[in-house]
Symmetry: C4
Subunit: 278 residues, 4 copies
Amino acid sequence: MKQTTLHHRRVTRRKFTADCAMLLAGIALGAAPRLAAQTAPAPAGPASPQLVEDLVAAYRILADHGVLDAYGHVSARHDRDPDRYLLSRSRGPELVTADDILAYDLDNNPVDDKGGTLRKERFIHGEIYKVRPDVKAIVHCHTPSLIPFGISTVPLQPVYHMAAFLWEGVPVFEIREAAGRKMTNMLVDNPMLGQALAQTLGSKPAALMRGHGAVVVGPSIRMAVGRSIYMAINATLQNQAIGLGGDVTYIDPEEGRLTTLDEYRRGWETWKRRAMAK
Amino acid sequence: MKQTTLHHRRVTRRKFTADCAMLLAGIALGAAPRLAAQTAPAPAGPASPQLVEDLVAAYRILADHGVLDAYGHVSARHDRDPDRYLLSRSRGPELVTADDILAYDLDNNPVDDKGGTLRKERFIHGEIYKVRPDVKAIVHCHTPSLIPFGISTVPLQPVYHMAAFLWEGVPVFEIREAAGRKMTNMLVDNPMLGQALAQTLGSKPAALMRGHGAVVVGPSIRMAVGRSIYMAINATLQNQAIGLGGDVTYIDPEEGRLTTLDEYRRGWETWKRRAMAK
Amino acid sequence: MKQTTLHHRRVTRRKFTADCAMLLAGIALGAAPRLAAQTAPAPAGPASPQLVEDLVAAYRILADHGVLDAYGHVSARHDRDPDRYLLSRSRGPELVTADDILAYDLDNNPVDDKGGTLRKERFIHGEIYKVRPDVKAIVHCHTPSLIPFGISTVPLQPVYHMAAFLWEGVPVFEIREAAGRKMTNMLVDNPMLGQALAQTLGSKPAALMRGHGAVVVGPSIRMAVGRSIYMAINATLQNQAIGLGGDVTYIDPEEGRLTTLDEYRRGWETWKRRAMAK
Amino acid sequence: MKQTTLHHRRVTRRKFTADCAMLLAGIALGAAPRLAAQTAPAPAGPASPQLVEDLVAAYRILADHGVLDAYGHVSARHDRDPDRYLLSRSRGPELVTADDILAYDLDNNPVDDKGGTLRKERFIHGEIYKVRPDVKAIVHCHTPSLIPFGISTVPLQPVYHMAAFLWEGVPVFEIREAAGRKMTNMLVDNPMLGQALAQTLGSKPAALMRGHGAVVVGPSIRMAVGRSIYMAINATLQNQAIGLGGDVTYIDPEEGRLTTLDEYRRGWETWKRRAMAK
């Protein structure tokens, strides 16, 4: 994986030609405020401090739970502009601070002039936000317990109510098919692969990525985080239940449908307190 | 899971009609002290500070051992009124303090005017206390290692003396049967389901709940806590022993009967010291 | 398990009759110094501070590694009197301090007048020291990873050089046979059972105890501790190797014989530093 | 395992006879500067402080991740003299400081006069550096999750992109064959065994050592460390995937080839921060 360093000038120049008005509306670009004001919606301004705080907490919580290690990322849709999302610079999740949070448009171009290295797989986020207006947050992770289910013919299924949202089934993204049966470096590092992943995800809350990890979405940061935590635990427990050798009773789809109202409020309070104290 | 916020006035009003005297005896209700004094036993007063301290320690210890994560709860029967029990507000176990401990009557109505959000599954506690006078403490948990045994046809059995109390057998609560073969949201969030769970538990020290977790009871907080800790470990070890592929020798019922005298005193001292230092 | 509280007077009185001279030699008994001096070897005096410090470290190290939880114990043979051994009071291993270390004679009677609660299973220690002059330290543990091998027909075998001392084979103590095919409370809480365990152990460095745990011995505290740590890891790894489903190559007895010289010096320095800093 | 204490005088004397000029070039030996200067390249001087700092961090990171416990070591090729390497004294990895780093020539003789105990298995390092000019860092570890794959007929294979470098296959070093079908103490503690291990490794990034552990190499400290961390996780996950009982899809060799560019930069920042803060 080569690191993608952001060359602001080059990005700005290219976008100016291709998609000028829309971009200018998004970038706090001192040189052309008037043009932007005329041809695109007024700049949405920064995301609310609460959203940024919650997104930083999400990085820390997911690291604290081992859902993310030094890799992986979580994004949130901008709360004042649905055509943007927030994602941290390329840093280890447990090190992320508010200053590392950058805004992107849905074509995955940064709209902040803050420097630093961009996430190579930001295409995962923009392409899902484009086609899933219900999604407000996305986790991309390499969580260990999920890897076996992404490479096995045995499907991931919900074993307990904390992960009952898995009742809809968990599709597996096969990057070789997405890339036209060609071999890749396994990364979703361009728009085409991002779109293919969004298509595999469909309307589901989560998809596994073969030999790579998973993507988990939600109507809020809290939901995406809680789902990621319990999906990981569920995978471990399903594996153990299979190992016992008897028959296994999974959560019934109807049970899953009836339990999907939890918003992990209590969990969030506990997790945030613990993770931010570290 | 919708959160159940306590509207004290409404609860008080309804209870006044249905079960007036008994309730008034329990609530420190400035407006009607006389009536209460006449028609019900005198108020028991607050539980002993030692009991509250031990209950708070129980939350912390169970969180420290991973028996509880951000969910699950432990209650204790009121030491000055056997018709009441103590249970924390709806908070993450590792955050619970003495101020979060609320008193309930055995119909699971709060008798304290302390505000906050009630546990949705408090019905587990009251319904068991009603039919099990020997029980002084109850743990409800989603402990990971127990989940596989709640969904597998392979029964949980004791593998070592620290969990020898399992010799009586561990019944599995199937909420679909309890609910009249109807699908539920998996939660024991009403009196009928609480009663069905108490019936499944019978005279045993623990029951598994399919796709959900377990309930563990004891003649003291210490016993319920110690049993929960070693039941969880036992599940892991039984799973590993089965995985070896050979024949397994479980604790004999007679051995179990002879070893059930331990009160986990030494464990409690160690666990409490460690958990409260965090 | 009832707790055995030490009633010094009663113990002293009974021993005076039964085994007077030998006992008096060991107890700093103000009332009868002369008699003791005449009929038994002069009192050996306290163990060296270094031995006590190492024994305390052993408790902490074994707790830090999860070899001991809130239960289990480690003893050392007295370095100035081979007919005595040191063992802590009945406390959680991570709480043990030098003040908790008591001296016992090989009949498992305390020779210190320090009060507190005695270990119920001290008989493990004295009976092994009696018949194994080479043994200077003994660990009794309920280490989770060892339990499956104590109850399975699959024998524990060495998988890597750090646990190569297991090449001699690991006998399993079946308490039902030791107790004359009678059911017990699983505890080695009398001399007869302690002797039977010592007999099962024979000349080996370790024995498993069915449904209970293990006993690990060594020519030094460091050796007994290091062996306990790596025996536990070995059990986990053997279990995993078997789980892979292929054929497994164990450490050859000759390899085991050639590698048993390590004294875990480097490990001890690291373990002690980490454990004592907690 | 006897500890090898460095007796500088004896080593120096012997080397003087056998291999005088080369050695003198490496040792800051006040008595014979002229001879050294004439017959060998000028002394390279100390390694850069950055390299030493990174090597110390590598010890701490690998301990923090459980790749190393109290045993195992990591070395780096000297950055100002390719015929030397740096390796710590014989200490627990989490205790290593810059002062513990010693320089060796490729025949595994120390070239610093710093005292302390040498690593008995330093021969692993020198013999690999000799035949692998591309290698700048070497990890030797007893990582638990790797042990099963070193003793099983089931080969270690890559299950996710973070360990895709395993696509080349992981050879297993059988010390009995290396030693001419003779039994050993399992240690690579002489040049002949070091050479045999280097031969088994060949051009690969890692080799397993039967009943012992592994050796992992890289073009930088960061790469060797990152590979060690993810190789260990990969082993756990492959084991779990096999345990599910279905068919498993491994990383394709072509995918592995395409993903081997990552230099674990982001991981290194996170790992170092965490490990050095302990």
